[in-house]
């Protein structure tokens, strides 16, 4: 009985993904007649063939996303750990004030308008890759508090003391002891950060208008609203003939599969850490 319920639930979860995949491998003309069907009347991979022939736009967007995800995750982890460690030290005299400084950002925010103006008018990072890395995604108060709690609960102060007596400086203690002992929390937060950067389209929507810096998610967003985005970019490379009879409906869905693909493929490997991370988040900090 329970299993029957779960089979229904799982079917409901997987069905939309399967539908998009099936549409992406349907022959365009049969799709125009039969609609988005879960069982293609005629299988055809020309949408993918088309996307790979005109791969320039997509490869570029992938490149942007991969670069931003890698640079963002590494700097995010480093900055979060650097900040969380002093907050975890019971002897650090400024920890209460600084913890409140972090915590307050979780309670109140100034809203979109001033935030937007800070980054566009004062820092002028709009239309650069920095706009995809820094605003909102780089550090979160929540992650800092989680990491601080982990440091406090798992690293005995006596280790730090004895290292300090042995003449190790603060930086060396942080680098060689704290980070080594904290791989579980580092990998969990790193994973969530990777997902956040990979899935981000909001910063692109707000800050990016130059197609050179579109991330893959934002390119997908643009394609859903208007398939011409893909076509117009390829136009200058002399492929317009090919584009005139491009299978636009199936291309759209093939794009979605290209966007989901890496996550689904990597999911079995990182699924364990995600569950761990959610459980950490549920425990009161």
């Amino acid at each position: 009985m329970i299993h029957l319920l779960f089979l229904v639930y799982i079917a409901a979860t997987v069905f939309p993904l399967l539908l998009v995949f099936m549409v992406s491998i349907t022959e365009e003309k049969s799709l125009l007649i039969h609609g988005y069907s879960i069982l293609p009347h005629q299988i055809d991979f020309s949408a993918y063939r088309f996307l790979f022939q005109d791969s320039h736009t997509i490869l570029r967007a992938y490149g942007v996303t991969i670069l931003v995800t890698a640079a963002g995750t590494i700097s995010s982890l480093l900055m979060t750990a650097l900040f969380a460690y002093p907050l975890s030290r019971r002897d650090f005299p400024f920890r209460t004030g600084m913890t409140f400084y972090v915590f307050f950002t979780m309670l109140f925010n100034g809203g979109l308008v001033p935030w937007y103006l800070v980054y566009t008018k004062y820092l002028s990072i709009d239309n650069t890759l920095l706009a995809l890395i820094i605003p909102n995604l780089l550090m979160s108060g929540f992650n800092i508090l989680i990491m601080r709690t982990f440091f406090m609960n798992t690293i005995p102060p006596s280790i730090i003391e004895s290292a300090s007596i042995d003449g190790a400086g603060e930086l060396r203690i942080f680098w060689q002891i704290i980070l080594r002992l904290s791989l579980p929390v580092l990998s969990t937060i790193g994973l969530f950060s990777t997902l956040a950067y990979w899935n981000d389209w909001y910063n692109s929507l707000i800050f990016i208008s130059d197609a050179q810096n579109f991330s893959i998610q934002y390119l997908l967003n643009k394609t859903l609203l208007d398939i011409q985005v893909l076509l117009s970019q390829a136009g200058n490379s002399g492929q317009s003939q090919l584009l005139a009879n491009a299978p636009t409906e199936t291309i759209r869905m093939a794009m979605a599969i290209i966007g989901i693909g890496p996550i689904i493929l990597a999911y079995p490997f990182f699924q364990k850490y995600i569950v761990q991370g959610l459980t950490v988040g549920a425990v009161k900090g």
Binding site: F6, G35, T80, F92, G110, W115, K121, I263, T279
Partner: protein
């Protein structure tokens, strides 16, 4: 006399700074980041009381008092977006709690751990997808010309195709379903973690006393995970004025015809700022949201602290 202690204090502060200088330097990137990303925008809320001109800058622009707010509340938009935001979130919160706790209890009842883990990994999947992708998935169902619903369900039944993206009346249901699809898996994993943490002796004792499965759930499982349910629900209640921008922006594809049932404060602020260029209106709506949200978090926390101090968030 008075200067002596303060001088000593200053001296000890200086000593602390010198002693902990490395730790202090470690915090500088973080302090700067929150200053730029969070605290400067907080002071920037004064824009809502100004007639912003880019040439004069934020500080140089003229004060206009509550004019921007007057304009905002004169339109019926203020009411619509507040109603939509609060009602959708309220429904989401109730559905999430009820469904996710049920799913978590059912998952816990599965004996074979491998099967349970398989179910868990599938139902968590939607949580990992971006709102853009979810927009695509919904589009594959609702596309007017080729969508699964119109073409493979309604057409065979002889019902006329519905133009989903221009009929506001269906959207409350669509958005509630999409939100459930996306978040129930996530919440049930969190609740399951709480259930797994319950000491098995409680259940053993209950079985000895002849308690049925249902009685065990009602008198052991639910009461014992209540603190987690309360914490998660309160966190969501505190954010009831903040809508999930991705859900309300990507899924209805920013369609103007649907605004009466899909526009929420966050999408309104976005459109006012970046599509209509009405900074006054956008910042007024944004500040209105921030202040309501802030008061609510404190209000909820104060009430909870009175009722049961252990469940308070801070």
């Amino acid at each position: 006399m008075r200067t002596v202690p303060s001088a000593a204090k200053r001296g000890s502060l200086w000593k602390a700074i010198v002693k902990y200088r490395v730790l202090i330097i470690m915090t500088i990137p973080g302090l700067l980041y929150f200053l730029i990303n969070n605290y400067l925008p907080m002071f920037g809320v004064i824009i809502a009381f100004k007639d912003l001109s880019y040439t004069k800058g934020i500080l140089g622009s003229e004060w206009v008092g509550f004019k921007n707010f007057e304009f905002l509340f004169k339109t019926e938009n203020a009411f619509i977006i507040t109603r939509n935001t609060v009602l959708y979130n309220a429904v989401f919160i109730v559905i999430n709690v009820v469904m996710a706790v049920t799913v978590a209890i059912l998952l816990n009842a599965i004996r074979r751990k491998l099967v349970s883990r398989f179910y868990q990994s599938i139902i968590l999947l939607p949580y990992l997808l971006s709102a853009v992708i979810i927009g695509y998935l919904v589009f594959s169902f609702l596309s007017v010309e080729f969508g699964f619903v119109n073409k493979l369900i309604l057409e065979p039944l002889g019902i006329d195709a519905i133009s989903w993206y221009s009929e506001p009346k269906y959207w409350p249901y669509i958005l509630v379903i999409v939100n459930a699809w996306k978040s129930i898996g996530y919440f049930s994993i969190v609740y399951l973690a709480a259930i797994v943490g319950i000491d098995s002796e409680y259940y053993e004792a209950a079985v000895l006393d002849g308690a049925s499965k249902w009685q065990q759930v009602r008198s052991i499982t639910v009461p014992l995970i209540m603190p987690v349910i309360m914490t998660l629900t309160l966190l969501q209640v505190g954010r009831i004025f903040n809508a999930d921008f991705g859900l309300f922006f990507q899924v209805p594809m920013n369609s103007g015809a649907l605004m009466s049932t899909t526009d929420v404060i966050d999408t309104y602020v976005y459109r006012a700022l970046l599509q209509m260029g009405d900074i006054g209106m956008a910042s007024a709506a944004g500040l209105y949201q921030s202040v309501l949200g802030f008061l609510l978090v404190f209000g909820v926390n104060a009430i909870v602290r009175k009722v049961n101090n252990e469940h308070a968030l801070f």
